[in-house]
């Protein structure tokens, strides 16, 4: 009903509020800090919404676990280095079964990296960052409107799966301002699934395997295995309901481009020449959905903001080689994609970058 300019980070925050989030804990880090700022402003005029600026990202991640157990839909926002600090808490949330949402607005890593530049190098970290085996659910929108939409889905999936769900974004998308009508986006909201603390139960929430009566099962491998498969199967079943992806561009082309998040939009000028498969749910991988279309294409090119993290995954999914166009050093541009395609001999004949349309419009 109201079209207006909305920033990607703002849209993620507004989606969280729409999903019923009432607790945010965070620590400033570029390029995610607008979400922290939004939360603080919102909390000032909405007493039911609690806000805590923490001393570090370790505290942020553990705080949203506590806030969620206490009864609030809870979330935090960070970028690569902060997300690294949160990994232990991510694993704890998976083991205990605590719904919450972590937004990772990616920049170029590793280490401190390039804080103002977009990257997509946290992809594997969202899947394997914490110790042990667990089933991550991860979404990566590619427009500001989608930032809002998949923020709500992320909270829903967190509730249903009882686990920390990750929203990936990046410096480009997070800081992108687009005209959007968020009121037009209707996503049903899943209610809280976890009984809040101190409502009459005497549960023990523990990161170690524990019997239902609260006794630690630290020496019982059978019980650990039972609990592991139970949670894994449950989360996979929930993820199946959120198998978001896009299949489009020129489906009759000979080559399929796989790209996600902002990269799929930056590559848009290539639309006449290639088909596109854009996973929105990055984890668990969309094995069936990709296999259904990939067989039609002679070649597959993965264009991504890392040195082949998703290309490796796709090769594993399809058991076939793919071409790679890594966009490193924050170079998320059609020029960089053209150069990359040229390097592997895959630049479409006659394709030239039109400077006027090089901006990432969908």
């Amino acid at each position: 009903m109201t079209k207006r300019l909305v920033q990607g980070n703002e849209a993620v925050f507004l989606g969280a509020v729409k999903a019923g989030a009432t607790f945010f804990a965070g620590y400033p880090i570029s390029p995610s800090s607008e979400i922290l700022a939004q939360a603080s402003v919102y909390a000032a005029s909405h007493p039911e919404f609690r806000f805590l600026q923490e001393e570090d990202e370790i505290a942020s991640a553990n705080a949203i676990l506590g806030g969620s157990l206490a009864g609030a839909k809870s979330f935090t926002a960070t970028s690569g280095p902060g997300f690294s600090l949160m990994q232990e808490a991510v694993g704890y949330g998976h083991k205990v079964g605590i719904p919450c949402v972590i937004v990772n607005v990616m920049r170029v890593g590793p280490g401190t990296g390039m804080p103002t530049m977009p990257g997509q190098g946290d992809l594997l970290q969202t899947r394997y960052g914490s110790t042990g085996d667990y089933t991550s659910i991860v979404f990566y929108p590619s427009t500001v409107a989608e930032c809002y939409e998949y923020s709500i889905h992320a909270f829903n999936a967190a509730e249903e799966s009882r686990s920390p769900v990750i929203i990936l974004s990046d410096a480009f998308l997070g800081h992108l301002n687009e005209v959007a009508d968020l009121d037009e986006i209707k996503v049903p909201v899943v209610k809280r699934t976890l009984e809040p603390l101190a409502k009459g139960s005497t549960r023990l929430f523990s990161g170690v395997a524990t019997y239902p009566d609260g006794e630690p099962a630290t020496a019982d491998g059978d019980e650990f295995i039972r609990q592991y498969y139970e949670s894994r199967d449950h989360r996979r079943a929930v993820a199946d309901k959120y198998n978001f992806h896009e299949y489009g561009w020129n489906k009759d082309a000979e080559t399929l481009v796989i790209a996600f998040g902002i990269t799929a939009r930056v590559a848009r000028p290539l639309a006449p020449h290639f088909a596109l498969f854009r996973p929105i749910r990055l984890w668990p991988t969309l094995d069936k959905e990709l296999a259904d279309v990939a067989g039609k294409y002679k070649k597959i090119i993965v264009i991504e903001g890392s040195d082949g993290q998703y290309a490796d995954v796709v090769e594993h999914m399809l058991l076939r080689r793919v071409e790679r166009v890594p966009l490193l050093g924050g170079r998320m541009s059609i020029e960089a994609i053209s150069e990359g395609l040229d390097r592997i001999g895959m630049l479409p004949a006659g394709f030239a970058v039109d400077k006027k349309s090089a901006a990432p419009v969908g």
Binding site: A63, A70, E88, L197, A198, G200
Partner: protein, 254 residues
């Protein structure tokens, strides 16, 4: 009501070693909870990794056995989302003062209305007896065979960095004063820290010359003296309570 109602006695015996001091803390905590009407509908326990953290499993309350060092971020969040609840942190000195040290600094600064009961046995017990942040200088441990190289952290001083906070030092031998300290800490409007000297005979005491847990208790009896009334600072081996100026609930600390 009785103390037993606060405990999951069907899970006894506990995993704690014979002679461990943690049970003495749990007993007094249960007693205070009984006196104050704390139950599973108005109180939650947040515990940290280490022997002490297992206390949550044995009490008739909702409890969160957090990651190592992360009791305070969890506790503060619970208190923020559910201010009507009594939030009690029970953890060891290593969890609280070492790996959780940064959270301790900043929770103290923010002055949330949570109570921390720290089982201070001056050692990493569960991992076998390594030196920790509270180990006295010169103490021989698994990780300091020639004697711990540094003086222990000044927990009283850290807590005192917030002029509105509550700090108590007591020992498991001094059951009456310990109960009083725990009770007043829970009633304190703001951050309250109860530092309880407690023996770990198996993974510390025997190595440093104590023959039994009782010897360690007797050591507390003879070494620790009550601070004079009105003391604003506790000397080493003094028991007592040091209160800042209380801040009413909802008000910002000074």
């Amino acid at each position: 009501m009785a103390i037993k109602d606060k405990l999951k006695t069907d899970l006894f015996p506990t995993i704690w070693c014979p002679g461990c001091g943690i049970g003495l803390i749990m007993q007094q905590l249960a007693s205070v909870m009984d006196d104050l009407g704390l139950d599973k509908t108005n109180t939650v326990l947040i515990t940290g990794i280490g022997c002490t953290g297992r206390m949550g499993a044995y009490m008739n309350f909702e409890s969160v056995y957090t990651l190592h060092g992360r009791t305070l971020p969890v506790a503060e969040a619970v208190k923020m989302v559910r201010p009507e609840l009594n939030v009690i942190v029970v953890s060891g000195d290593g969890d609280t003062a070492s790996i959780g040290g940064n959270h301790l600094l900043h929770s103290i600064r923010r002055n949330p209305n949570v109570t921390v009961i720290c089982n201070n046995n001056e050692i990493y017990g569960l991992t076998g007896g390594q030196a920790g942040p509270t180990t006295p200088k010169g103490t021989s441990t698994i990780s300091s065979p020639a004697g711990a190289g540094y003086s222990p952290i000044n927990l009283q001083g850290v807590v005192a960095s917030n002029p509105n906070a509550f700090y108590a030092k007591t020992t498991v031998y001094h059951q009456g004063p310990m109960k009083k300290a725990i009770k007043e800490a829970i009633e304190w409007p703001g951050f309250a820290f109860v530092d309880v000297a407690s023996q770990c005979i198996e993974n510390n005491g025997r190595r440093i010359g104590f023959a039994s847990a009782n010897d360690m208790l007797q050591h507390y009896r003879t070494e620790y003296k009550a601070a004079p009334p009105g003391a604003t600072h506790l000397e080493t081996h003094q028991t007592g309570i040091v209160k800042g100026s209380p801040v009413a609930a909802g008000e910002t600390r000074s």
